[in-house]
Symmetry: D2
Subunit: 431 residues, 4 copies
Amino acid sequence: MTYSTEKLSEEKVFKDPVHRYVHVRDRVIWDLVGTKEFQRLRRIKQLGTTFLTFHGAEHSRFTHSLGVYEIVRRMIDDVFDGRPEWDHDDRLLTLCAALLHDLGHGPFSHAFEKVFDFDHEDFTRAIILGDTEVNKVLQHVGSDFPEKVAEVIAKTSPKKLVVSMISSQIDADRMDYLQRDAYFTGVSYGQFDMERILRVMRPREEQVVIKKSGMHAVEDYIMSRYQMYWQVYFHPVSRSAEVILTKILHRAKQLFKEHYLFKYEPLHFFSFFRENVTLEDYLKLDEAVIMYYFQIWQEEADPILSDLCRRFVNRNLFKYAEFDPAKEYKKMAELNALFIQAGIDPDYYLVVDSSSDLPYDFYRPGEEEERLPIHLLMKSGELREFSRESEIVDAISGKRRTDHKLYYPADFLADETTAGEIKKQIRSLLE
Amino acid sequence: MTYSTEKLSEEKVFKDPVHRYVHVRDRVIWDLVGTKEFQRLRRIKQLGTTFLTFHGAEHSRFTHSLGVYEIVRRMIDDVFDGRPEWDHDDRLLTLCAALLHDLGHGPFSHAFEKVFDFDHEDFTRAIILGDTEVNKVLQHVGSDFPEKVAEVIAKTSPKKLVVSMISSQIDADRMDYLQRDAYFTGVSYGQFDMERILRVMRPREEQVVIKKSGMHAVEDYIMSRYQMYWQVYFHPVSRSAEVILTKILHRAKQLFKEHYLFKYEPLHFFSFFRENVTLEDYLKLDEAVIMYYFQIWQEEADPILSDLCRRFVNRNLFKYAEFDPAKEYKKMAELNALFIQAGIDPDYYLVVDSSSDLPYDFYRPGEEEERLPIHLLMKSGELREFSRESEIVDAISGKRRTDHKLYYPADFLADETTAGEIKKQIRSLLE
Amino acid sequence: MTYSTEKLSEEKVFKDPVHRYVHVRDRVIWDLVGTKEFQRLRRIKQLGTTFLTFHGAEHSRFTHSLGVYEIVRRMIDDVFDGRPEWDHDDRLLTLCAALLHDLGHGPFSHAFEKVFDFDHEDFTRAIILGDTEVNKVLQHVGSDFPEKVAEVIAKTSPKKLVVSMISSQIDADRMDYLQRDAYFTGVSYGQFDMERILRVMRPREEQVVIKKSGMHAVEDYIMSRYQMYWQVYFHPVSRSAEVILTKILHRAKQLFKEHYLFKYEPLHFFSFFRENVTLEDYLKLDEAVIMYYFQIWQEEADPILSDLCRRFVNRNLFKYAEFDPAKEYKKMAELNALFIQAGIDPDYYLVVDSSSDLPYDFYRPGEEEERLPIHLLMKSGELREFSRESEIVDAISGKRRTDHKLYYPADFLADETTAGEIKKQIRSLLE
Amino acid sequence: MTYSTEKLSEEKVFKDPVHRYVHVRDRVIWDLVGTKEFQRLRRIKQLGTTFLTFHGAEHSRFTHSLGVYEIVRRMIDDVFDGRPEWDHDDRLLTLCAALLHDLGHGPFSHAFEKVFDFDHEDFTRAIILGDTEVNKVLQHVGSDFPEKVAEVIAKTSPKKLVVSMISSQIDADRMDYLQRDAYFTGVSYGQFDMERILRVMRPREEQVVIKKSGMHAVEDYIMSRYQMYWQVYFHPVSRSAEVILTKILHRAKQLFKEHYLFKYEPLHFFSFFRENVTLEDYLKLDEAVIMYYFQIWQEEADPILSDLCRRFVNRNLFKYAEFDPAKEYKKMAELNALFIQAGIDPDYYLVVDSSSDLPYDFYRPGEEEERLPIHLLMKSGELREFSRESEIVDAISGKRRTDHKLYYPADFLADETTAGEIKKQIRSLLE
């Protein structure tokens, strides 16, 4: 028996609140879970700052990664196995890609990538191909195996079916995170009948397709996704925390550029400030490290940095107002000027944040690869694009929804000991 | 309207996966939740190292504290309110004590308290009475209010009924954590019918009692607790992580005593090493800070400290064997000697850990205050100790169960490049 | 204390799997539940023939009626009570109307009403106003109280707010049945966040309105309803059973008209056959009685009646094919002729059944009273029709969806011992 | 391919609220479900009169039978398959026995068997071996197959392992009904971690055994069972309904013996009254038929029969008092005499009912076959009787618990228009 087909002497399970149990029989999977790069995902929250709005959302990317693996394992072992369109030799590749698909995520990825201009997907690739424990395990399977796994995750693999199992409009990734995020936040919106969807999935050369009889279950899944986006992922309070987080990173980077003397040297941040991050530096960064710095930065001399850190650590967030950039740009300029007059730096304290997207632009065939439409498999064997069959999905298909909000520190504006008159003006503009 | 009776203009809710919603109408409660000392509980896991065994157990003491508050609120508002035995004036006191009962917990409390010899309950008291945001809010209610809250939490309050709602054999604390820990780990054992138990609770001068008709629901709760202890809280894998954690702290303290030169100065630890911790120091310590140190200590020169930290961070835990101290003390001495011969320091790498306790010693009336028995309220109005009515509880009442395990690094012992013969001997003794 | 305000000495509860507990404090409600007319609802399934498709759907209208009562009770006691727009004097009226709203339902109402041309709502009114135990209880409250309750149920009451709590696009009736039917069938579609919806409901003079912040929860509810209709209520297999049931009743009525000599005199049916049903006759009819007749009719000499009854009792249902009446009327005529040639009476064995409706035509303001739109209560106090705010609901609003199917006995057509050639033709037309 | 190994072209599923889906691939199973004898189980409630206490308990033996089949299927396909101790040739036999194990149950079996002195297990055997659709399907597998299936159900089969999967202290039957009855009643007690128990089950020659690591999950299951018995199955209100039901049957039988002239001839009952029931008669009897008679018997001239029927149909049950037969036999004689004086026939209106049993006498090895102890499979391969390892189960093992209650018509006794003085005496004795 080679390493790639080696089974554990006894199946191992992880107790999982979403899937009851995650089952592992393959030695390779077991070894991957044990690597320090994979264990690192325990120290990165799946939903970043959302726990400040939904207090249950403290779950990590580790749990989500196991979940995606388990869904893919069930697809293969319970549904695809034995069907002529499914190549059994792709099994291990698919399981590994599922398990490792988020491996390159760092703490609060979104904000970090924006401020320090990098892409976590490059780090996923770097971890899989670099000098890491994960790479060693994958190498053990075959010298080109790391590259193959990386290609599936990067969606550049020629194995389109395998790619679609992990990254498509109805993939294991989304099916896990919707259910998991719903479970941990406690909202009911993320529930859909995954058992049913798995049962109606069929492998085809280009992608996973859905038997027509499962159409309603998929409609329900799409609606769940829509609701989760607007109810949870884009919740204005989480976005407020995200805004502050981003501004902390901006401020620290700015201070570094200006040769500000930090009370505690931010060693872990230097390569980020220089936008020259090595894999080793990157792997050292997790949420514990970030939170450590945010805590000690509360004591920094720079008033903006210390204030923003205090806000983030103690959940003293910005308030928000509806904002329409198309109509209200004049008001924005006015506010900007007033903030400066009031001595509150608008670069850090008057922030427009926009959520827009994907979840509402469900089915626009032919744009980027990930936007490939879901196909229904009709009784005749024909494939039909989903929105042609589903009136509900057709109705919402291609409609982009955008929401803009203006974030500001209500407590500063309420403090009338200085610039009272100007602050009053600001407040009346904001209401 | 005074501050103590002030209501929010509109009820606020927290979405909670266990209780659906946590409801807040009282201004005082809302203000307490917003304090930085309470927000700090977000950075301390409810179950310490258990997430290394049950990966879902990443929830914080913040969520649990809100849960205990909510249960007490429902007891009062839905069941006790209007009954002659319940003094409405105790409402706010009880809610505050429920919310704040775990306020003094630090990161991985158990290990920290053992190694650095302090009691988190003293810090709970210190936070409530000291110069803190929490104290300011409580002072606002009344100058003696902080002291009253502290007394309820310390179980020294003359208001025995109020104390029993938060600390007794069937209190809001336990009812929340059993359900919450079950929910986040995904095990089914922690479930019981809390709705029913709340409905049959009745206030009496000395304590909360249970209507006889609710006896079976309470039996089920007691069994849940028993199962949770042995299945989750005392799980040998979590204990392995706990053993390593404790040894890290021991080692660091020892190195400090020996004037070891740390590569990174452990500023946050100094006052702990000196066993002279101020409230300010204490509040700075949370799990992010601990994990930060454990990560950088992986690079320390001391091989024991760096090895143990690597183990904890990357979840490379000790294995365990059953151990009976009464019968196997000789074997233990032998193992100790062999470890030394093999160059593995037994003080850090050969550890006996014992779990024993309370959960099995359910109903021993008349020992410490917390061990007060549950009383059933009979139809006649008479009170009867629970185990006199319940055959099941009687059967297990007062039986202490203890479990000892021996923890060791299996990987070290498997490495036969050095001291191969001795390690072989050790392994055969351990099996 | 008068009867109308009399409370039970201790609250009674019914254990309910959907709402956990149904709480009763009011003597009037307790007495109504005990009447034989209300107990009769135990012998009428909530979902008629659906249990033949979803085997868990064996729950009765009794359980649903308690559920609607409980939801209304929570609306009033937990949300409306104390608000100026809510008249506390309407409480008992609303609770009684909620509890009794389905009182006139008979077994398999839909089919019975169609074949014997009556309306169960007339019987609801008759039971409330007639010589019944229910009437006695209501009379005890006040001599005009039965009439008031009947008016609310009939939607003719001037108390529009009360009516809307029980009959509107988002009422207690629908909220209970969606959740209950989902629970008992085991499908996940019927779930939505009722806790949230209750919390955002506000009484207004004309109707219950929804605070804007609850919009997404209501969207989710509307989608649940849509899914339940097409996935459960209009499931083609249940409709097949419904078709057979209807044809049994037709056949029995026809035989009666033709003075057919029944082996067992169908005493309970006589007044239905004559379309001259008294209240007393009506109340004697429940599903047990119907099933009794269907069983003994299996032994009747008339081959159509006995065959259809055997099919229904033993779940040997008709198969179905898609059918488009607009395009396929010629094919239908052809099939009709062929059935006659094959000796299979098309009046009973070739049936078009159409489902269409309401669930998809969600929000057409201004049609029948029940179709009144849901109104959102904006922060400004203004009311806005729901679909103007919700893009999703707007997208599906007013779109009627209809589905036609053709039902036939596949087993008859497969039996080629007679008319083999003709049956082959029929089969090829049907495929 | 022979019939016994024939697979459906596509797997069929039944939506089930307890197991999510019941999966059928085997043609034989599919055909058995379609027989009229199996469909008949839809017309027999799983919990008899319990729905009068827990209104959700309206589920049928049909749903339970499918559930037991599904659990056994999962045991075999997910856990036993491929293990040397499991004979793959026993698969179909086990599945059929699981599906059909309750086939001979009639309506309200317990009461019927007591009054008319028969055993439903004889009818199970008769249906399997007699001239039935079920027999035809089984014959199709092999001429001795019906006999083999009957033997497994009767526990006389030499295949002890197979028997133990369906009838033992931890079998598929109990695992389904505990979960199912908990689900439909809505109580939380019946929940346990079946996934875990299935995973630790191992086939051995004599019986299914449990891996030591699953001990706690089995403890939890045993406690669930204990709770379900005393909380649900022996609920005094259900027992009251059961008492009345039994008395109706007694009365009808007695009247028949006395040549009473029934207004409506009870054709379906004649062979029962004569205690000479044929299979054909038996199969005609279901709950619809029983309820039909109970309804028409409300109009019988015999005051006892009509009164008892009215009570049952309209849920006007007897009240109960605690009763200790050992101490209170004198009081019982006194009450008997007073009832006669008051003109209330004590044979029908003063009834002692006792619940005692099995659930509490959990583990008495060596009595009847069904009482065989559960065995734990130790790491060493040794088997140990469960209660030797589990302190909790040891504590309750072998302890019989009995509960006696005295049932009587409180309404009769409250009516003081006749025999007022005597009734007062009775009431004071009963309180």
